[in-house]
Symmetry: D3
């Protein structure tokens, strides 16, 4: 991020300054065995109308999370530029190779985009994407909405989230934007391992930043999609970009429940391998010590399953999806509703 | 199935005739690069008490379907032989290599076990399993319960099912067993492509046969597991094997809704590739012509999504799980409740 | 091909009997890990106008040969049904999975479609395609044009070909159709290893059959595409299906040179591994004993290359494409112009 | 093996009838993505001098067993035809693709050649090799020596072996040939799973057949190679083919110990996964019930290892090589010295 | 390239200072699963005779480009040291692992050698090769000839090239060397993305540097090989190393046409996926706006192909080879002949 | 190793300061496609009793070396804390992913742990393990014993080793610890390529460091395991940690022979590919120039094997295991007994 960095190899053929809606690509040169002078093409849309703030809307940070891409492809195809004041930059599938493969990380280089920020212009393709977003798109933005869900291996209560930040004015703006998103649940948290995250990079540049976890299991439902579609419009309205009829007139489907994750005991991690039998599911309340899952050793029949105990009281905010569990897998995440 | 077939290479060290509960393996020799004289070990449990009918209970026919294995490992570990009259043979993970890999088909040979019956003693490992079940276990059984769910790519309303059969007495026994299973939904159907199915093979031998679809998405929920656990005990009770306190005293959590699949228009198949946005979900009622999903072409932004229309009225019995859809994928299955 | 075969699992939603142009799919059910109830979708086009003969036009028998698919996608999109008398059935990518992967054989099952005829309804996907073509499409056809090129590893002089057949009347019809195709070169041959070929299956059913080798190296050129496009129209005109303005008015770009392959010495096979230096190329005349290539052993520098001698005189009809050669690779094929 | 079989697609350019030593290939056509008209080349050597019996010597039946290929490449390169009476056909790497990959089975088709006999001319490449050997080489042979070792996953006491056969005259000839081979150990056995073996096919044709297990662990030692080299010359001398100075003058390095495998308890199979700690090694004597290995569960420290008990008394004839063990792996084979 | 770099782990057993021709290896230690203390062996040849300049000749920078390796293996095997004055260092397969795999990039680490300069002694194997060349071979050289072609996915008009450089004296020397190479075409260019290139590294050290593009499609032809062989001798003669009879007496087969690439519109990049139908080929003249290719969507028949328009006038200097095209692939490169 | 490094992402739930034996995990977060919030779990054991020195005992630095893991799992499960004074930290499978895969390097990232020190907290998983060991475990330790063997591709005489170090007092302590280990052979050496080694990192921190090579071939024998078990107790006793009955009372099974490796000619490296015939084995004495192995070219029969000559006199300390050899493979290592 210093001026000693090489220029980004990524180019974009869109004019970010003209009014109207334009659809194009970030073109990332990627020389490889099956295309000597090939490139990764990342769809991008810019919608602008007059002066006003700029929002950067991103989906597909992880490639197996779908509410964001659905809401953003839909928005890009349908939003009338006349309804906005300012500018919207949409990257529905930020880690495009991961999205096309349906995988969390990039099949090209194994990169987890949300651990690759601020990126490098001379690094892997995933790092180059992060670098371009950091140096070319974030500076244009006032606020950022980055869509996440649980992907193929986790499932979440639908929530929007922001971080506890040293800059309290920024923190307040982020919290207001989460409120405007209007998901059934909201979360304010300290990130324990923030190295390489898009969030951290954007917040360090003073951008209002909202992230989400809207479901998971590698799929999307009519309900979770509705949360995403309503949320992006609420976010844009709160930012002063979306106005009039396009802005959601009602405060979402219902009130938002704020959650808290007080400590590391919120995470329940498996130390065993086996067939997992969940005893609770999303939204269920548990007390410390409850058996929340049992792990059946599958080597042979007749062995007793191993009980997994909740390490704290709370409600089930996230759960393990696959039928089998491995040592180190996250079995569940518990959170505490804020009164 | 004629006496010209070679003997099965599979051996089993359990005594099927003694009273009590025993846990062992089907041992399938499998010579390979990483184990010259290796074998596939398939867990099996036999529980016997005195005279009475024999039930064969199978899970893991497809390796990514979990309600069956959970209910059957649990049953094998906890059922007191004194509570039964007769014999229960349990194969919780019939296609053990697929189960351990978490995949529908076998990672060893690509075999879909439920398209491999009646099997071959000199075929692939998957065919050898089918052959052993056909020639060594089915002849011992009076009734068969084979657990299925939607696996990683489909999700189902929880249902038990039987077939419309030429032998009406057998059909009636199967239907009674489905009733006894007591799932929220039940289905009686004509199988369109019955070649190679376990069902067909067992029915042709005159066995009472029940199959299920209890959920899917590559996971299991407390609710779907409860349906499975209650169902297996109802099935065993109806067969006269499970008696007394172990038998479920109530007719399941609620009444069973019978479904019908009148014709091939029940299946909605994609002809396009893209990002799928479902507009309806399991249990929703649809009318012929309704747009039930939209497919967003993801090559670039700004293109209109392609609508997918229901080809008949009914309720959504099954749905596509992954966020991306490919040509030929099953988007949804519609069924008609039987009044 | 006896009535004891099971029905094909492949379905087709097109009406083969109505006038007009219709575009649809052969739908081949293919249950697999990433799509439990998925299918292979093979594009098919039927164009009909009144009575007349039926031509079956096929490309993508091998998935890395491109003149056929290009000419056939083009024909399907542009041919006015009013210009024909009879019926044209077009399968531009017969082995669709191989075509989409850009490989000779199917990535699904490794199948070489042109060694899989007449196929099996209960076999691999590739065998199922062959079976459907054999039992459902060939019976509708009077004449068949199956496009081939050299694929990624061979390159050919552009030629159309037919076989020396026991049925001399059929042989004459085939030869006339080759003439009508009007490629720069033509070949009449005895197939040495005809087991499993589409050609053999069609000829045994009495169908006029033309095959081609129009180039190769995994690409297509404006010239080879022109030969294909002109050829298919000449073939259809000679069959009496294409009439009037659509039929080619001139006898191709030039006269056709007939070739002969008298014996097995036409094939030059490598017994060594190394870096190949070709000394002759397509169309060059060679004499028996000429050094036509040298193989450089690449383990170290300073070793003499191994000479490869022509085993007979002729012209170079086909050549090895990759820069490296392995034992068993075909280095070149020589043919003798027929005076 | 009936006259309805198609001809083998394999060709051989050697003259089996002329005197002298000739080196060439079995050429097995193998059309594939990286060589459209490619072939598998299997080295073969024929050495003939006048009249006399024919010996077929084979190595590389499994691709990761090395004493045979070393002894046979050496023999082919050094044996003076003048020293023999009759004919020797040498296939040092019968399953050539497996040998080049260093794997037990073929990387082309997964085929275990020694479970593929008598083979099929229209099957997989491995089946085609078996078919060619069965129909074209075995009929030429009077006696067969097929080299095996334990491969990468087993290790054996050096032994030659023959079978207990219904034809007692043949059995006696085989036993005499084993004696002539002169390995430190010898074994006469009933094969429990003889389907598909080269041995069975050759014996059924009345050929004197000797097989070996000369070591293993994916390597060869000076000692095991010496056993192989001495053995092949002893075998040829006993067959009357090798005479004079080339025949071994001494009865091997020492006397041969005959072993017996009385029943299935000779095999010790693992039911667990873990880190294996062997307590005995090749040649050690054990008593029924002895702990011969311990399996450390490696999920975590502090757990007691699982003891593996010998199921019968005897000496360790074979042992598991890899440091990890999986369910179904053969931990050890015990045999009983014949007094 | 500073003295703080670790020493290269690569060793070379050749004496670069003695007269005569010597053949050996660069030995790059590469510890890996299949060879704990293994190494990559890169063939190298040094030919020296008395005093004079040193030329470094390299092929196989990309592993699927063949004119360079053929010309350099041939030169290394045949050049009489007595015919030269000075020294020639030949690396015919600089990225040896890529060359042996027939791939552009290294199968070991995915490295594109021509994007890995100046390399790192503690990096990937590909970076270690670059580092050794940069720190141990380039300092010995006065001039460098690095052979390229289009590889498996591009095809080029045969050309030699040099760069527009800030050091005009060096630029003039490079241009003279290109002239001496005597290819049918020549190109002087500004490299847009020069980071990591061998060219840039060598030029920065003041070395006369010539690169080529001599064909492609993963093959070599007698004509392109002749250009390479003639070119290397012309280059060595112009450098004053090759003298007398060995130097080419004639100015190549014909005059060289100089080309220019004025701007980024020379590159035509695909934004779509499909079956590509090229309408022009190498050497054809096009005008801005011409349709130079059409892309057939292959999902179904009956759709119109998408036209690809030239963005500038010129001749076709390079073209896409594979029959299928992906978004981001380079369809064609246009250049303008310099009058 | 400076305070500018980020904190390690690895956590450990064990208390290193309490008396007693505790078993737990190093938990390394590893977000990936099949576990979004997953982790690598590395078993660790801490045994403490009162004051005294700390020993760090590590196995599985390379994942296919087994004497260390066996001895250390055994020690962790059986050692009575009351028998020690001080503390023992045991990591039986330091590179746990490699150990579970049975491979030298990590299947996650390809990392060779013993070339990854001192590691990076923000690097690959393998680098993160090295970093944690360097910054969190090494500072706790007074002495380190790191078990190695030859892995799947090399086999060694059983030996313990230390380095010639600039700090002669440390060197003496290391040498004394090697003596205490009491293996049949011992080696004092200069490491030629010490970059990234655990040894170097620990020695630079002033830790007494002993490494071993106890066998190999991807297996362990009762003898090599006995050397490891006796060695670790000798090492702990010499360090003053293990006392009384647990300490070995006898100086191993016999005297230790010290070896020396005077120069690079100790390593014999293959320049050819082929089937290797070893003529000498571990412990054999050879003289300079002896043929110690022959490489049979396996392309065809009848070619003479290539002899491999010893470049110096000595005894065979290590040998190549696989039956095939590739250019760059280490054929043998020779050492000289120190009188």
């Amino acid at each position: 991020m210093t001026d000693t960095l090489a220029p980004s190899p990524i180019s974009c053929d869109l004019d970010f300054e003209r009014d109207g809606a334009r659809h194009g690509f970030l073109r990332l040169p990627w020389s490889r065995d099956d295309s000597a002078w090939g490139a990764v093409m990342i769809p991008i849309c810019v919608i602008r109308n007059g002066d006003g703030p700029t929002a950067l809307l991103t989906g597909g940070n992880h490639g197996d999370e779908y509410e964001g891409p659905i809401a953003l492809y839909d928005l890009a195809a349908t939003l009338d530029p006349a309804r906005i004041s300012g500018r919207i930059i949409i990257l529905p599938t930020m880690n495009a190779p991961a999205f096309r493969a349906g995988t969390r990380t990039s099949p090209i280089d194994g990169g987890n985009l949300n651990r690759s920020f601020p990126g490098r212009p001379d690094g892997t393709p995933t790092q180059k994407i992060a670098d371009y977003v950091t140096r070319h798109l974030l500076p244009l933005a006032d606020c950022v909405l980055d869509f996440h869900s649980g992907g193929k291996t986790l499932d979440f209560l639908p929530l929007a989230a922001c971080h506890i930040l040293p800059d309290k004015a920024l923190e307040a703006r982020c919290r207001a934007a989460v409120e405007a998103f209007g998901a059934p649940y909201a979360l304010q948290m300290v990130e324990m391992d923030a190295v390489g995250m898009f969030d951290t990079t954007a917040e360090a540049m003073g951008k209002t930043f909202v992230t989400t976890e809207l479901g998971g299991a590698g799929t999307a439902s009519p309900h979770s999609i509705a949360v995403a579609k309503r949320g992006v419009r609420g976010f844009l309205a709160q930012a002063g970009i979306l106005t009039g009829d396009e802005a959601p007139s009602d405060p979402a489907a219902g009130p938002t429940t704020w959650l808290d994750m007080p400590d590391g005991d919120c995470f329940l991690v498996s130390e065993e391998e086996g067939l997992i039998e969940p005893l609770v599911t999303l939204g269920d309340a548990v007390a410390r010590g409850d058996v929340v899952a049992r792990i059946h050793p599958f080597g042979r029949t007749g062995r007793a399953p191993l009980p997994c105990h909740a390490r704290r009281s709370g409600i089930v905010m996230a759960r393990h999806v696959p039928g089998l569990v491995k040592p180190g897998d996250c079995i569940a995440v518990f959170a505490v509703p804020v009164p």
